[in-house]
């Protein structure tokens, strides 16, 4: 009886030794490789906890193999050891990726912050420039407004002067030149040849216009009368009147060698001497500007 038990014990032990010497199951070989690979990768630094768990699981599988041989349990434990080793590798790589990404993102944010600071500094400078320019523009605008007002004022005065001038002088282009006709009644009192004060003002404008518009042409001041009274008297009067106007224009700045005076009496009437209106039109002084004559 004792012997029988002894024999079965021997058989059992032999069987056990036989198991230990059998080749390890493929899963266990793979588990050893998986752990070896994981322990040489980023896992020891980035996921030591799962790597440690993988080691413990591998130890369980190894112990199971030593104790029980190539059993389903050994293979299950080895299978788990493979998964845990892989898990530690994957988690470690994931953490590496996340860290790298965090570095990129934080660098990017730092760069962005710097760029924003730089841009906002530039914006500040630009704003200051714009403000300065705006002030300058406002000043310019005000100056322009003043200038415009002055010009409008000058234009108003000029057009008033032109209207005033037109009221007492008419300008015509004729073959003999530009003829400015001045009404005699505005210039002189009846039978007199000294200029009325109002006439002087008007002649000032005529002189200014002649100097400004045509400073070189020669001109002739012609005196004309109506047909009332004797011809010699009218001839003399027209000559005196032409001379007075000519002399006055010289005092206003027209070169004396440009301008001469001539009386025509009633000989060149432009209207009917039978009506008062006609006679008024005939009493006149004409300034004939001869273009190109001074060049």
């Amino acid at each position: 009886m004792n012997r029988l038990y002894g024999t079965s014990l021997l058989v059992a032990l032999t069987g056990s030794i036989g198991c230990a010497t059998t080749l390890p199951p493929q899963d266990l070989v793979m588990a050893r490789g998986a752990y070896d690979r994981a322990s040489k990768g980023p896992a020891p630094v980035h996921d030591p906890a799962n790597l440690h768990a993988a080691k413990e699981q591998l130890d369980v599988a190894e112990a199971s193999f030593v104790e029980n041989g190539d059993t389903q349990d050994t293979r299950d434990q080895a299978y788990l050891a493979i998964r845990k080793a892989e898990l530690s590798e994957v988690v470690a790589r994931t953490r590496q990726s996340n860290q790298a990404k965090d570095v990129v993102v934080s660098d990017m944010h730092a760069d962005q912050k710097e760029a924003v600071a730089h841009t906002s500094a530039e914006l500040g400078r630009t704003k200051a420039q714009v403000t300065t320019q705006g002030a300058a523009l406002a000043t310019q605008g005000a100056a322009l407004q003043d200038e415009k007002a002055r010009r409008e004022d000058a234009e108003k005065r000029a057009s008033k002067a032109a209207a005033d001038l037109a009221a007492f002088a008419t300008v015509k282009q004729e073959p003999r030149g530009m003829v400015i006709t001045l009404s005699g009644s505005v210039l002189f009192a009846s039978a007199k040849w000294d200029l009325l004060p109002a006439a002087q003002v008007k002649l000032n404008e005529v002189a200014d216009a002649l100097i400004k518009e045509d400073p070189l042409s020669k001109m002739v001041v012609e005196g004309h009368t109506d047909s009332q009274g004797s011809v010699p008297y009218n001839q003399d009067l027209s000559q005196k009147r032409a001379q007075v106007v000519r002399d006055y224009l010289v005092t206003r700045g027209i070169a004396s060698d440009r301008i001469t005076a001539q009386g025509f009496g009633p000989s060149r009437s432009i209207a009917d001497n039978k009506s008062p209106e006609g006679r008024a039109n005939n009493r006149r002084v004409e300034i004939v500007v001869q273009p190109g004559t001074g060049r």
């Binding site: 059992a12 389903q72 788990l80 996340n98 990017m108 710097e114």
Partner: protein, 125 residues
């Protein structure tokens, strides 16, 4: 001495048999494995080639475990569910790794684009 050793040798198979018969259905393990498998699926493991195999292994072993439970092999089912959970967790980790890698690439691309924009706008010293 011989007697005690003998009783262990004789007793062991009896004890084994008792365990097998009384092993309860692994409901908790089933719940754990299914939860891990669901997580992997919800994270999109099906769309990540590196995670697909792990997810598939988990799903197959869960199915095998259900059959084992039906067949009364609760202990075998228990082992299968432990393996299934390990595979599902690996699928989750692989999916997260791919997400992190894509995020990292996007961050690098964003960073480059930002740097180009900054240079383009003269927003660098």
């Amino acid at each position: 001495m011989n007697k005690s050793i003998a009783s262990i040798i004789i007793g062991a198979p009896l004890l084994w048999g008792a365990c097998g018969a009384s092993f309860p259905p692994p409901t908790q393990r089933m719940a754990d494995a299914q939860a891990a498998e669901r997580s992997a699926r919800e994270l999109g493991a099906n769309n990540i080639p590196a995670a697909q195999l792990s997810l598939k292994l988990a799903q197959e072993q869960i199915a095998d475990a259900k059959q084992a439970i039906t067949a009364g092999e609760n202990q075998r089912a228990d082992s299968l569910l432990i393996r299934a959970r390990a595979d599902a967790e690996l699928a989750v980790a692989r999916t997260r790794e791919m997400t992190a890698r894509v995020d990292g690439q996007e961050a690098v691309a964003d960073s480059n684009a930002q740097a180009t924009t900054n240079v383009g706008q003269g927003a660098v010293k």
